[in-house]
Symmetry: C2
Subunit: 666 residues, 2 copies
Amino acid sequence: MGRALRSGQLHEQLLPKRIALPVFASDALSSVAYAPQEILVILSLAGVSFYAYSPWIAAAVVVVMLTVVASYRQNVHAYPSGGGDYEVATTNLGKNAGLTVASALLVDYVLTVAVSVANGVDYVGATIPIVGQHKPAVAIAIVVLLTVVNLRGIRESGVAFAVPTYAFMIGVLLLIAVGGFRLLVLGDELHAPSAGFTIRPEQTDLTAFAAAFLILRAFSTGCAALTGVEAISNGVPAFRKPKSKNAATTLLMMGLVAITMFGGIIALGLASGVKVAEPSVVARDLMRPDGTPVGPDYYQQPIISQVADAVFGGGSLPFVLISAVTALILFLAANTAFNGFPVLGSILAQDRYLPRQLHTRGDRLAFSNGIIILAAGACLLLWGFNADVSRLLNLYIVGVFVSFTLSQTGMVIHWTRHLRTERDLRLRHQMHRSRVINFFGAVMTGLVLIVVLLTKFMVGAWIVVIAMPILFLMMKGIRRHYDNVAAELEIDEDYEPAMLPARNHAIVLISKIHKPTMRALAYARATRPSSLEAVTVGVEGEEARQLQEEWERRGIPVPLKMLDSPYREITQPILDYVKTLRRRSPRDVVTVFIPEYVVGHWWEHLLHNQSALRLKARLLFKPGVMVTSVPWQLHSSDRLTGRREPPAPGAVRRPGQVKDDGIRTS
Amino acid sequence: MGRALRSGQLHEQLLPKRIALPVFASDALSSVAYAPQEILVILSLAGVSFYAYSPWIAAAVVVVMLTVVASYRQNVHAYPSGGGDYEVATTNLGKNAGLTVASALLVDYVLTVAVSVANGVDYVGATIPIVGQHKPAVAIAIVVLLTVVNLRGIRESGVAFAVPTYAFMIGVLLLIAVGGFRLLVLGDELHAPSAGFTIRPEQTDLTAFAAAFLILRAFSTGCAALTGVEAISNGVPAFRKPKSKNAATTLLMMGLVAITMFGGIIALGLASGVKVAEPSVVARDLMRPDGTPVGPDYYQQPIISQVADAVFGGGSLPFVLISAVTALILFLAANTAFNGFPVLGSILAQDRYLPRQLHTRGDRLAFSNGIIILAAGACLLLWGFNADVSRLLNLYIVGVFVSFTLSQTGMVIHWTRHLRTERDLRLRHQMHRSRVINFFGAVMTGLVLIVVLLTKFMVGAWIVVIAMPILFLMMKGIRRHYDNVAAELEIDEDYEPAMLPARNHAIVLISKIHKPTMRALAYARATRPSSLEAVTVGVEGEEARQLQEEWERRGIPVPLKMLDSPYREITQPILDYVKTLRRRSPRDVVTVFIPEYVVGHWWEHLLHNQSALRLKARLLFKPGVMVTSVPWQLHSSDRLTGRREPPAPGAVRRPGQVKDDGIRTS
């Protein structure tokens, strides 16, 4: 942890708005790298003529985004503790709703990694052709790289977020400004690389119903632009005071930037004649100006690269830079999930829905397991869907809108409950206003969720619809197990704390006479047990005799007991002997002292202590037996002595649990 | 272990010759299933005309086998302890020679599994066509099956060996008898299924040198018939008295049976016109009577099946039975390696060349690791060589002859040394005779080793030549590590055993007040430490307050110390506190009592004790600190309470370490 921070120091770590924006916005902003394009991709299934619907679809997405931003501004004020959608749903709709949100978010983290990395590789491929030719392999390699970096532990820093995020914002906004200027002021014509192309429709002669279905599907895909909007509501504690106000302002800023980018890119894309088709059919359906299909060697550049090509020229420095920062922010968004996943895990573990040790964010092992599960899931998706963003997006948005809908519904109940008791008219007025906004948000996101499920279930969303209940049931099961154990361990009010075992019989396990043994004996004697015996298993007849002799020659003042073991088995004779002791005096306790080597290399574990560990594991099953490890530090262990933990994950976005009053509470 | 046997009971378990023969001979006898065929396969590279050399090659193999059998009869008398080639080489030629033998044997066990299973599948394929079409997959499946069976633990029994081995011996000897009778007495003509076929030579117009090289290669492949001959010399302790004499007799019987089978099969194969080509070229080079290649759909039946077809008719009951028992004995030979591998591991571990816990054969975990390594190596070979016996044999014989040669050389030195002191003329005469036999054996096997290396290095033996030194160096490294540690731990003669720590400060870790905590407190008090404190880490402000309250309300007679932890980290605050205690009084010892849950399902480990385990691992690095686990058995642990170990591997062939005088010695 480096030097652990005291509560008093925490304020220094809080984020000003200009740093908070990039820290929390990379995920949300990065989605404009694919959302506009995917609207066009879906529409292209019915041919280029359907591109005409795209401005309306984009407008609808913007309306949803404005609604969601407005709604989450209410959340931020009402729940400054940073529990996010999980807390809001749990508090207002009950545990099952909260757990549904949690399942949705866990699935979504995996998809965030998969989609962001796949799209990032698209943008790298725009300037490095060989990457475009091996997308799934490169994408999986990048996930592995992120995994290794996060397993080693990186200290998240605001600056590390700020530079690429601002570079992306400036790059894309500049692109939109220059493009708009050339188009509207200079009257230039912009030509994307695919401007002269046409697309052979996959679906022709659509019925009105089929056309509407396709348009709704394009809309639900475009709603991918909303992913990550809720991030700020999880991070309120990281803001400077006044926390809620600053968070709400940052959220609004982020929303406006995202909407500008989203609208600008789709407008410039249409103006410059971008033609994009589904990756799986692009070779066949995308036609060059001469009417021939582009064939399998064609690399379909992603939309921001095509627009940058049209505005600045293909291969120009601005084109390369914009493609690069877009790729970078997408990888940053993926990395966000690597930090968010353990933070959510920690909150769920606190409520005992996940293994307890996840609660301690400092626990690297648990954290590492989380990262590996996340990365494995993402790699599986990238491999299974061939790193195809269009197909991955079919899975993505279900979880997001499940949590949006439940969170906003919860907020409506929150305000209703508060209105029941609140008497201050000014506050009541505010609450009424907030409730209307959240109600509108709940209805809107609920409708989008239904549209998403209807239009995407068959093409991939079913996977998420299966995965979420599995996670839900697993977490329920873990909670039930913890509850059962807690009940089993509970003590009555009339429990007598002074119930002491009568006596303490100590036995020290001896393999040979060396320093660890002597230390164990000395320590055992220092605990002044009622009786003390050294015990050895007579594995080798000759060695046993020698041991006995040396024992006597050295005058070791503890009796040595030899146990017979014809099969050189060590565990069973000791277990049997302990059982005998216990039977002789059931009210006493038996303490078994086991000398243990402390080693410095992983492979040394294979060479030492294995018998001790086995024995210990078995002895623990015997009631009334304590097992004491007396460590002996081998020289090789020196290298690990001063070892400290690497920084905890998500330290920037949840810098400790600080309430508005500055008192550490959880 | 079931009920552990006492030394006195051991005699009941010893094997009469009629059971010892099948127990130790399955490996050696099973090699006649492939050795005769592979001589013909190699010769066929120069065309069918070269088959004329095969009787001479077979005769040479028989001479080598007789020599080896005669030599090992000397080993059995000189080394009745069952250490085998490793013991002989170590005792007479030094540690490095012994370790070379050990490396060779370890590699050979892997190859025994691969070759036997691959050939067994060939024989299954003779009657079940679909198996022949998916040989590598079926072979790997069988290795997996053997692995699972051996991981679960099977009690080896003499009868389980006797039935298939005798069935195989009777089947093949009957086949040879009936075939010989029909051929010589009735004057029938025998026709193998491939009798009318011809083979297009891969190598034509051979120079005299190339022809000699090919013949030598066929000879060295034929020497595969010798694998497993040494098995009896490892198993002398399992024989009834007089052990050495019985073992020597059994060895001779086995040699004679093997030679009869080997010679008979190759003779009947030639007489019935069997044509076999290398599996990789069979489709192209093997020609039907009409001069067309047999093509990829042809299934080349192995030699015993072809001979059975010629003698009894294809598809007849005897044909099916003989193919089946041949497959069975081959799988039995593979299973032998699963038992021999841990036995060798146990001997090497005793000499500290492998991790110590392998020494205890009762250690299932170490044993399981050995089995998994063996199976993984065999599967890799089966997959890499497409379960092709001809190619696998290129790797097989190097290790066998390395150990033969070193063992026989060691025996020559053994007799020379004994002759230096022996005065009894009769014994001296016997020793001279033995020395001549072993000298002859050493020269012969050494020559074969050179031939094998020369003819097979390029086609695969190089893999073994690389693998053996790697194993050698690994074992040397392990031994050096153990020696270094032993030196580090050694105590001087003037070591003062009464050096007691001054006082014992005990701390009990408390997370909440429940039964495990109260038991840990009671036990800690029972050890009557100099000072006793309960320590808790104040992870949650509110919970910490409640804990303090409950502590006081219950009147627990131990002071409760709260450690602060702003980052919810548990390990570091406790480590720091222990460090403070140690610094305050360095001559005292600190005992940390940790309540631990004992659980009954593997997955419960994920939910409990993780923090405790982490803390324990870290505390062990602190000098002067003892860690005591106070177990609390959860109800779920009941199911494992009475658990006992499955039988030890290789229990039949090494039924305990019994010397001729009946005294257990090692």
